[in-house]
């Protein structure tokens, strides 16, 4: 994969001004503009040395509207959500939440690095919970292995057997009832989220013109 940080952005037309606007509109996004590029975030991030960009560059690129490179980088998928950067940022920028929002957009845009099973895992996890109300570790891992690289399954098989022998692999799901339409129904709540998201998009669309 081309290293995103080495790719110079020469042309304004490559930038998408709507991208930073969208991010700063988020409830936690107002502070984004206040970033002083101090690098505390990258300095404290335990994974930054494995990332192509690191959190400081991500913030800078988000602000400049470099959507293409940000959504294609591997940095966002190497964020383990440890919140180290978030608590260390002197400008109270919620960097972990920025990473989450970028993951959402990368998934929507279909930009997910092939070498990493995490985007697939996130999606499958989401789907299982929508159906069962709870996650099911064994199914989830099996699905992810099948959908990414089944060789990984061979590699993990000895561990799986040991977990099984120790009674730590749940084979049967332990679901709650989803889709009853009754009080407290999870599906009703999730559908309402979709509706509210759409309304919000519409309002934002109207006000930005």
């Amino acid at each position: 994969m081309q290293n995103a940080q080495e790719r110079p952005v020469l042309d304004q037309a490559e930038l998408d001004p709507e991208f930073p606007r969208r991010m700063t509109r988020k409830a936690w996004g107002e502070n984004l503009r206040r970033c002083i590029q101090c690098g505390n975030c990258t300095g404290t991030c335990p994974l930054s040395e494995y990332m192509d960009l690191g959190p400081r560059k991500i913030i800078s690129m988000v602000r400049s509207g470099n959507k293409t490179d940000v959504l294609k980088c591997d940095t966002i998928w190497l964020c383990a959500s440890c919140y180290e950067c978030t608590v260390e940022c002197p400008k109270e920028i919620k960097i972990t939440d920025v990473m989450y929002a970028l993951k959402q957009q990368a998934l929507d845009a279909g930009h997910t690095p092939r070498s990493m099973p995490l985007p697939v895992l996130d999606r499958e996890f989401f789907n299982i919970v929508m159906k069962l109300g709870r996650s099911q570790e064994t199914w989830l891992m099996a699905l992810v292995i099948l959908k990414t690289n089944w060789l990984r399954g061979l590699d993990l098989a000895p561990m799986g057997l040991k977990l099984f022998a120790q009674g730590r692999l749940s084979l049967l799901p332990d679901p709650i009832k989803v889709g009853t339409g009754k009080k407290g129904d999870l599906k009703t709540i999730m559908d309402a989220c979709d509706r509210l998201d759409k309304e919000e998009e519409k309002e934002a669309g109207v006000s930005s013109h």
């Binding site: 988020k26 409830a27 936690w28 335990p46 994974l47 494995y50 190497l78 383990a80 959500s81 440890c82 919140y83 180290e84 978030t86 608590v87 972990t96 989450y100 929002a101 993951k103 959402q104 998934l107 099973p117 995490l118 985007p119 895992l121 996130d122 999606r123 996890f125 989401f126 919970v129 109300g133 709870r134 996650s135 099911q136 570790e137 064994t138 993990l156 561990m159 040991k162 977990l163 120790q166 009674g167 730590r168 692999l169 749940s170 332990d174 709650i176 009832k177 009080k183 407290g184 129904d185 999870l186 009703t188 709540i189 999730m190 559908d191 309402a192 989220c193 509210l196 998201d197 919000e200």
Partner: protein
Amino acid sequence: MRYIYYPGCSAGGTGKAYDESIVEVFKALNIEMEELKDWNCCGATAYMAVDEAKAFALAARNLAIAEDQYPADEEIHIVAPCSACYLGLLKAKHYTESDPKIGGKIKKALAAADLEYKGKCQVRNPLDVFAHDFGLDKLKAMTKKPLEGLKVASYYGCQIVRPYSEFEERATPVTMDNILKAMGATPVDWSCKTRCCGGMLTWSTGAGKELNYILLKEAEKAGADVIATACPLCNFNLECFQDKIKAKYGMKKEMPVAYYTQLMGLALGLDEKALGMGRLFVPPKIPVKV
């Protein structure tokens, strides 16, 4: 005041020993706690990566149904032992109550299913309950088999201390050390108490495994006999990938890993099997007093 147990999804699987030992220890300490009925997944780190509104509403539903299930005048404390659950519930609570934009949306989504979010639930980590509600003196008094001679590296990981925790110091947490010390163990001083375990990256990337190597190595350097964990994912990463990590980095010795609640249970004289001691990849060797 009422403690309501929120086991989380790993309690029925890889994190079974954590679930078992917590329930046993609560029983032994005579702290009443019942499981939340109809609870759903907290969303963990994956949900937030897919859909923000749904991730918040998912976590908040647990708080709202807890409020709905118990009388309005009762103080409800949701006990969430898994760090991801603890953070997920706490974060949903934080945003619902302090952020009009997201909060309004979450409340509306819950209202669609006839639930009202009142903000009555406290979200508690069992560390907080043991150390502050129950108290260290009482823990000490109830200890039957003190963990004498056991050097423990207390490992808190990330999401207990950051960013919403109200009971711990972000950089220098102490509750687990204090609990285990009260029960006879010797906490070692080490620098990795809140360093990341790689979370979901450990099984899928070399970077994640390297983070665990650093933890294992630092605990060894500090002279620890065992790393005590407070999260099913931390525990899983440190114990289950240890053979791979050892081979890759040429580590000679094993580093036992167990839940701090299992160590508490042993100190309380509870049965090893009931505490899930047989469900560990690298169980600790507890020194026996002669």
